[in-house]
């Protein structure tokens, strides 16, 4: 089975991110970048599926050359090969086009992604790539079984769980809970350092949307903090009922 796993390089969740006073740009100085946490589940799932069905796992990222770091992690975990499409100007759609091109060229049977990239939290990549490839896609999958070309998946929806059936080739985005990502061992980390990483030029894709302004949200919260006396608790209930009108 040819498996492509897509990984993204994102600011650490604890990073301080600001905007310039005129709102024209983000302030990302000194921000530490990490492998998108959900993509660890995607890599692990790729490795598990390879263990079952044989084949090859290729890890791909589209972004800054510095993102090569996360490809080393994917290789250390067990990916067979890795590739980076260098670009820093594409919008999400443009990134999806690069991923779809790569998947087509390697004849991917299974494209795995994380459910969301924690930078833009857009939840769109799996469906966008699926549509570009004319393949079915299933997002936010918490259980995946593949037998031959039959795919069975489960995903959380509002108020319950959906069971889906599909066919390969397919694009799947995964959710925490699907597996337990392995930690690469030191010898694997060392070995990964010498595995080759393919570098490709991005093909230019006109952007379909554009950020015109950034701002740091101003929280306008009442911020009334009370003690724990009976009177305080009564006041708390009154505030929720009469002022906020939410209970």
């Amino acid at each position: 089975m040819n498996i492509l796993v897509c990984v993204s390089y994102v600011p650490d969740t604890a990073a301080k991110i600001g905007a310039t006073p005129d709102g024209s740009a983000l302030q990302l100085q000194g921000v530490k970048y990490i492998l998108n946490p959900y993509d660890e589940f995607a890599i692990e799932e790729a490795l598990l599926q390879r263990e079952k069905h044989g084949g090859r796992v290729v890890a791909l990222t589209v972004g800054d050359a510095a993102a090569t770091e996360i490809l080393r992690t994917a290789l250390a975990m067990g990916a067979d090969a890795a590739a980076i499409v260098t670009d820093t100007t594409l919008d999400s759609y443009g990134v999806a086009v690069q991923i779809a091109e790569y998947a087509r060229a390697m004849n991917a049977d299974l494209v795995l992604l994380g459910r969301q990239s924690i930078d833009h939290d857009s939840f769109q990549m799996a469906s966008t790539v699926g549509a570009l490839l004319g393949m079915p896609s299933i997002s936010v999958v918490s259980k995946l079984d593949i037998e031959g070309t039959r795919v069975r998946a489960e995903r959380d929806v509002e108020g319950g769980k959906e069971i889906l059936e599909a066919e390969l080739p397919i694009v799947i985005s995964v959710q925490k809970g699907i597996n337990n990502p392995r930690y690469p061992k030191l010898p694997d980390i060392m070995k990964a350092k010498s595995k080759p990483i393919e570098t490709l030029q991005a093909q230019s894709v006109p952007a379909r949307s554009r950020h015109i302004r950034y701002e740091v949200p101003q929280q306008k919260r009442a911020n009334i903090i009370l003690g724990d006396s009976d009177a305080d608790i009564a006041e708390f209930v009154r505030l929720l009922h009469e002022e906020a009108k939410v209970i």
Binding site: P11, T13, A15, K16, A19, P37, Y93, I118, D119, H120, D121, S122, F123, Q124, S127, T128, A131, P136, S137, I138, S142, V151, V157, G159, G160, K161, E162, I163, L164, A166, I170, K176, P206, R208, S209, R210, H211, I212, R213, Y214, E215, V216, P217, Q219, R221, A222, I225, L226, G227, D228, D232, I233, F236, V237, L239, L240, H241, A244, V246, I247
Partner: protein
């Protein structure tokens, strides 16, 4: 401009996220078309001021397939003079939106929390980096597909109901479009989901053990809310992952979010900071959760929650009579 809204319904009953999308569409478009797979509750659509109801009918749509539904919506939008398509950013909407956008070769603006017009063009606001930044984004294509974060737009009936025209649209679909289908839906019976509840009462490590979540469940029950949890207690196996709120859990924006024994780590805030009202109970007055709270009680959950339950019960009795 005409805006089409994808109407998500379960056995005819329309999801609130779709009513919110209709309300938002009315605010910016002169004509609103409700797009339904099969038949949805016409009376409600009338009350919400929809001008046209389009029932999409096809034998291949009897079992839900995101691929087929996206194809059908795209065919309809192409056939009609529709400038924008709105969807609720629900589990379904988040899969359909990007697909339809690719098929229509348009911009897709995901999970938007506000909409406006600038120079007669639709622009949207969406949170980035777990809500640390609000970005204003504009489509660079003529048409646009927009998904709206649930609970950020108020669903409000129109001032005067409409008499919508009702038409049927028959898309051309083949087996090619149905290579993924939903074969079953398992409902969490009798349990309110954090994504659908108006009130979410969440518990964290301050509850000390899974057995004490009975307190959270009781408080949620008297308030008519759902139970949520921090990642710490989900990782510890005290609560199921479906209840986790936060960056690696669910993003909720209820009317009231009540955090009990939760410190308020940024990753937790990422999942609930757009709630209308935030309240917290924590014994540490310096807990970060209080910085984002509207109302807080500095106290021990084991002492405060039982009293709170009593007081809420009294309130409910007095308002009921």
């Amino acid at each position: 401009m005409t805006t089409a809204v994808y109407i998500e319904h379960r056995a005819g009953s329309i999801k609130r996220a779709s009513l919110e999308a209709i309300t938002a569409a009315r605010g910016i478009a002169d004509r609103v078309v409700g797009l339904c797979i099969g038949t949805a509750d016409t009376q409600t659509l009338r009350t919400y001021g929809v001008h046209e109801i389009v029932a999409i009918e096809h034998a291949m749509l009897t079992r839900y397939s995101s691929q087929a539904v996206a194809e059908a919506i795209a065919q309809y939008v192409r056939s009609a003079a529709v400038g924008a398509l709105f969807l609720g950013a629900t589990a379904q909407g988040k899969e359909l939106g990007p697909r339809v956008a690719v098929l229509l070769e348009t911009a897709y603006l995901p999970d938007c929390v506000a909409l406006s017009k600038e120079a007669d063009k639709l622009v949207a606001v969406r949170p980035l980096f777990a809500g640390k930044i609000r970005a204003t984004v504009e489509p660079l294509t003529e048409r646009v597909v927009v998904s709206l974060r649930p609970n950020m737009f108020t669903a409000r009936p129109a001032e005067t109901p409409t008499e919508p025209t009702q038409t049927t649209f028959s898309p051309e679909l083949s087996q090619e479009h149905c290579r993924v289908v939903v074969t079953d839906v398992v409902r969490n019976e009798g349990k309110l989901d954090v994504l659908e509840a108006d009130i979410v009462v969440s518990g964290g490590r301050g509850l000390k053990g899974p057995e004490h979540f009975a307190l959270i469940e009781q408080l949620a029950a008297v308030l008519g809310g759902a139970v949520g949890a921090s990642r710490a207690v989900v990782d510890a196996g005290w609560r199921p992952h479906s209840e986790q709120v936060g960056q690696t859990g669910k993003t909720v924006s209820p009317n009231l979010y009540l955090a009990c024994g939760i410190s308020g780590a940024v990753q937790h805030l990422a999942g609930m900071s757009s709630s209308k009202v935030i309240a917290a109970i924590n014994k540490d007055k310096d807990a970060p959760i209080f910085k984002v709270a509207d109302y807080g009680i500095v106290g021990d959950v084991f002492e405060v929650i039982p009293k709170l339950i009593e007081q809420v019960k009294q309130l409910k009795q007095s308002t009921a009579s």
